[in-house]
Symmetry: C2
Subunit: 252 residues, 2 copies
């Protein structure tokens, strides 16, 4: 099988994760918060309600780490699942394969996610692991191994980053080595693994439903909430760059 | 997007579901049962134990119905998920798209499944529905609609067939009409649907885990068990056609 992006030539839209414009990223969370009432006047009440509703269900209590996936169909299906379940952050470790999203399959889900991209360079796995540890995550490899715990037996109380490996060979030794534990999905047949996007879906579904039933505070912090609210309002407003520039020139 | 099998030209192996050879399908379940001890001598004890273990986890308490999927990646990922979870039967309703399995993605899972194929002809949806109703299934459409019940709220005690529709347009009106109810997976984001193979994975995972925790008798009947045991032994033995032919000539 071709190890490159086999769907590549069929893509109408190929997207790498987008960076926010400089104006937006330079603002402090306080400045963003102050701008919210002004920005809300540019969208319908219905849209605003929808955004706030989705924000209420956003979480950073768990995150998904993808190491070197190469099938754009899988990458895009993972984006869609994370967005559907409110998992805000996805970490992408590139190795041999460049990270490309297939818009027709992701259904634009990536627009509403925070994508952390670790480009192909020595130490990018460690860099990702350091970031996650620094942000309080327990790193869990998804491995169908003897000593992995079953997904139902892994408590949901700790912030957890789940590492998923490439389609054919799974996680690299380097990625397994940075992890603090391993988890597996129970399997009852002859087949020894799920399709990668299906295993992300099964695991995410399990964790999110258990979190929602738990008394754990899994929602965004007030700062995270308002930062994302600001970002999503900006994404929902036409000519936002111009609007923001003018407003900032006037003084908030 | 191309509505044909877009992966087609990359396939090394394209497979339609295989039919058993005539010798095997002509035998009664009693004959098959009588042949089991003989056939078991052709495989290792380890293999025999593995087959029996997988059989113990096989179920016809739920089944998956796919209507007119066209992405071979999705079809193959569904096969793999069903096999992993022990869902023995998959029903495939062809319409515009011919049913093709992508071996590299299904990982050969379809070999261990019973595939029911309804080729593109008038009334094939009704034919499938009649078969399932006659076999005691409640037919449930998977639809992200207002009045669909959430997957957690749908009891697992009844035999259930879950209908999944095509990637872009979902289930046909005809398919929705033959169903006895509808189910949906909770979604918390902006995106309005999961990738089709991901939704099969989430739903199947939910149902199987709940079934395993329940006191419901979800396993194969003794006859189903032995029929499948026979079939799997045959699939595990080289030159099985010759071996069976000789044995039957000798008399069982």
């Amino acid at each position: 099988m071709d190890k490159n992006n086999i769907m590549g030539k069929y893509l109408h839209h190929q997207n790498r994760p987008q960076e926010p414009t400089s104006t937006m990223s330079e603002l402090t969370v306080e400045q963003k918060r102050e701008l919210l009432p002004y920005l809300r006047t540019f969208i319908t009440e219905e849209r605003d309600t929808r955004i706030l509703e989705v924000l209420q269900n956003r979480t950073r209590h768990l995150t998904i780490v993808l190491e070197d996936l190469y099938q754009t169909q899988n990458i895009s299906a993972v984006m869609r699942t994370c967005e559907c379940y409110g998992v805000q952050d996805v970490h992408i470790i590139e190795k041999e394969n460049e990270f490309i999203i297939h818009d027709a399959i992701s259904m634009g889900a990536n627009k509403w996610l925070t994508l952390h991209n670790y480009q192909n360079e020595l130490g990018n796995v460690a860099k990702c692991a350091d970031y996650l540890h620094a942000h309080g995550y327990k790193l869990i490899a998804t491995l169908p191994a003897e000593n992995s715990v079953f997904v139902d037996d892994l408590p949901v109380d700790e912030k957890t980053a789940f590492f998923f490996g490439t389609e054919l060979t799974g996680l690299s030794e380097e990625a397994v080595a940075v992890c603090d534990g391993a988890v597996k999905i129970p399997m009852y047949g002859f087949t020894e693994s799920f399709n990668i996007s299906n295993s992300v879906a099964i695991l995410t579904s399990n964790r999110i439903e258990r979190l929602h039933r738990s008394g754990i505070d899994w929602r965004l912090t007030p700062d995270e909430h308002d930062e994302l609210y600001f970002e999503w309002l900006c994404k929902s407003i036409r000519n936002i760059d111009l609007i923001l520039k003018r407003k900032l020139e006037e003084g908030i």
